[in-house]
């Protein structure tokens, strides 16, 4: 077992809406500088668990989160916790790239510039380093002022990653970040994920077993049992995917 400390730890994390429980009792530890994959069938609550990790669940009226999530051993639900500061530390990449109707450079700095006051030169450096880190710099360095919407979808997704990186997050939550992308852009993002884990911890929701095998270090399988999403098994990628004794995993792996 890895001796590095868990940067994120959930204990009995459950999320419910007034009418039903979406996902129940998820307890996982996520080690630093790893890619932690969340896999499972659609609707099992993978994205919901992911969004609880940086309290994006707060934004949805009626959603109730119980149990706990600890970042560096401290509960993110503790009174006095600044949810906005938390989200800057635990950044997020969505399924569809969301670029703001602004220029490329304005998009990169969208969060960073508002979270702290930065001089013009620092802003330029930050934009460059974030775009470098997201492997987009060489493609856009001559047109930083161009509208971000002009980029291809794959480039837009890397721009969103650069925008998250610019706020210097420790953890990046990725919610099926390649499901809207073509194979080449997917490859680019996967290569990036592998590189990013040297400096960041990544929690990746994916429905793609090939991707899980390719980039994942640890996996958690969230499946539906008794009508409620729950953690059915976790461990290294191969150990989880070989759990043919868990019917849901077996079925899921077979069908892909």
């Amino acid at each position: 077992m890895d001796k590095r400390p868990n940067i994120l730890q959930t204990s009995q994390l459950s999320v419910s809406v007034p009418s039903r429980t979406l996902v129940r009792d998820v307890t996982v530890g996520i080690t630093e500088n790893q890619v932690f994959g969340l896999i499972g069938p659609s609707g099992a609550g993978k994205s919901t668990v992911l969004r609880a990790l940086n309290r994006m669940t707060d934004l949805v009226p009626g959603l109730k989160v119980t149990g706990d999530v600890q970042l560096h051993g401290r509960s993110i639900f503790a009174p006095g916790t600044d949810a906005n500061a938390l989200r800057a530390k635990v950044g997020m990449l969505f399924q569809q790239p969301v670029v703001f109707p602004a220029s490329i450079v304005d998009n990169v700095l969208f969060g960073a510039r508002r979270l702290q006051s930065l001089s013009k030169s620092v802003q330029a450096e930050l934009a460059e380093s974030a775009l470098q880190e997201a492997a987009l710099w060489s493609e856009v360095k001559d047109r930083l002022k161009a509208p971000a919407a002009k980029l291809s979808v794959g480039q837009q997704q890397r721009l969103c990653l650069a925008r998250a990186l610019a706020t210097k997050p420790e953890v990046i939550l990725m919610d099926e970040p390649t499901s809207a992308l073509d194979p080449r852009s997917t490859e680019a993002i996967e290569a990036l994920i592998k590189r990013l884990k040297s400096r960041h911890t990544i929690v990746l929701v994916t429905h793609n077993l090939r991707q899980a095998r390719n980039v994942g270090d640890q996996l958690a399988f969230i499946g539906v049992r008794d009508g409620v999403g729950q953690l059915l098994c976790e461990g290294t990628v191969e150990s989880v995917l070989n759990r043919t004794d868990v019917a849901e995993v077996d079925e899921y792996v077979c069908c892909q």
Binding site: L59, N84, G91, V98, F110, L115
Partner: protein, 283 residues
């Protein structure tokens, strides 16, 4: 039979559209034909003389612009506050619909009632007398529903993904309001204001007791007892006294200028309105 019905329906719709266009065209034609001869450079730059029978409408135009600008400046912040309240702070559908119903109710208040209200509250109770500010504020109330509803629609059209993405970066609610909601909806504010002002520009009732007189006013320098001249009131007074053919041509000329002003305000709103539609389809 069905084809026949289709054809009849299309024909009726087409005829109605043609009728509407013909009415507009006829109106514009009559006003241009009668008012055109009065239009000259001097008509815009000279002040009124001989009780409207001679001279121009310089101060009337300026007065109307002052009233419109005041109405815009006074209504915009309130409209922003109300629209944000609906989008961000009001959680229950009931409270939202109360707010919206209130706005529609204000929109339905006859403009003469606004005029009387302004007269009682601002002119008499506050002791301002006839004042450009009183008129501007009353016109702001007249256009407030239009501006607010336009802004609400625009805010509603902002996809939730933008708010989510901004929150995911760690922005606070007020930062999201500035960086996402207002940044992407100011077009709605401008469009709504222009459409509201296009309507307000021609209103006589809200300003006749509160802000405007027929002659003898120029640039206001204070709030109290500082009336302005205005185009619609000018037309209103001349129309009651238009047996003199000289007055008649000035009357039609003023109407033409007012029509031009209203059309320009509506036209100025067009580009942002078109852009909003485009974004709604491709966004």
């Amino acid at each position: 039979m069905r084809k026949f019905l289709d054809a009849v329906t299309a024909l009726i719709a087409f005829a109605c559209a043609l009728l509407a266009l013909a009415l507009l065209g006829g109106l514009v034609y009559v006003i241009v034909q009668k008012g055109g001869p009065a239009i000259s450079w001097g008509f815009f730059t000279e002040q009124i003389r001989l009780v409207g029978a001679a001279g121009g409408i310089f101060w009337n135009l300026i007065g109307t612009l002052i009233l419109l600008l005041t109405a815009f400046l006074a209504s915009a912040p309130i409209a922003i506050a109300l629209a944000l309240m609906e989008r961000v702070w009001l959680k229950s559908e009931t409270s939202r619909s109360i707010l919206r119903t209130g706005l529609y109710a204000i929109n339905g208040v006859p403009s003469i009632v606004f005029g009387i209200f302004g007269f009682i509250v601002l002119v008499q109770w506050c002791g301002w007398g006839k004042s450009w500010l009183a008129g501007g504020l009353i016109l702001a109330m007249v256009i407030l529903p239009t501006v607010t509803v336009a802004l609400m629609e625009r805010l509603k059209a902002i996809p939730a993904k933008y708010v989510e993405a901004a929150a995911g970066l760690g922005l606070s609610r007020s930062q999201i309001i500035w960086a996402v909601l207002l940044r992407q909806s100011w077009g709605g504010l401008i469009t709504g204001s222009l459409l509201g002002l296009a309507r307000a520009a021609g209103e006589v009732a809200p300003i006749m007791f509160t802000a405007t007189i027929f002659a003898g006013a120029a640039m206001p320098h204070a709030i109290k007892e500082s009336p302005v001249l205005s185009l619609p009131y000018h037309i209103f007074i001349l129309a009651q006294d238009s047996f003199d053919p000289g007055v008649g041509s000035k009357l039609w000329g003023s109407a033409l200028v007012l029509l031009g002003l209203v059309f320009s305000l509506s036209l100025a709103a067009l580009p942002t309105r078109l852009r909003i539609h485009e974004e709604a389809h491709h966004g």
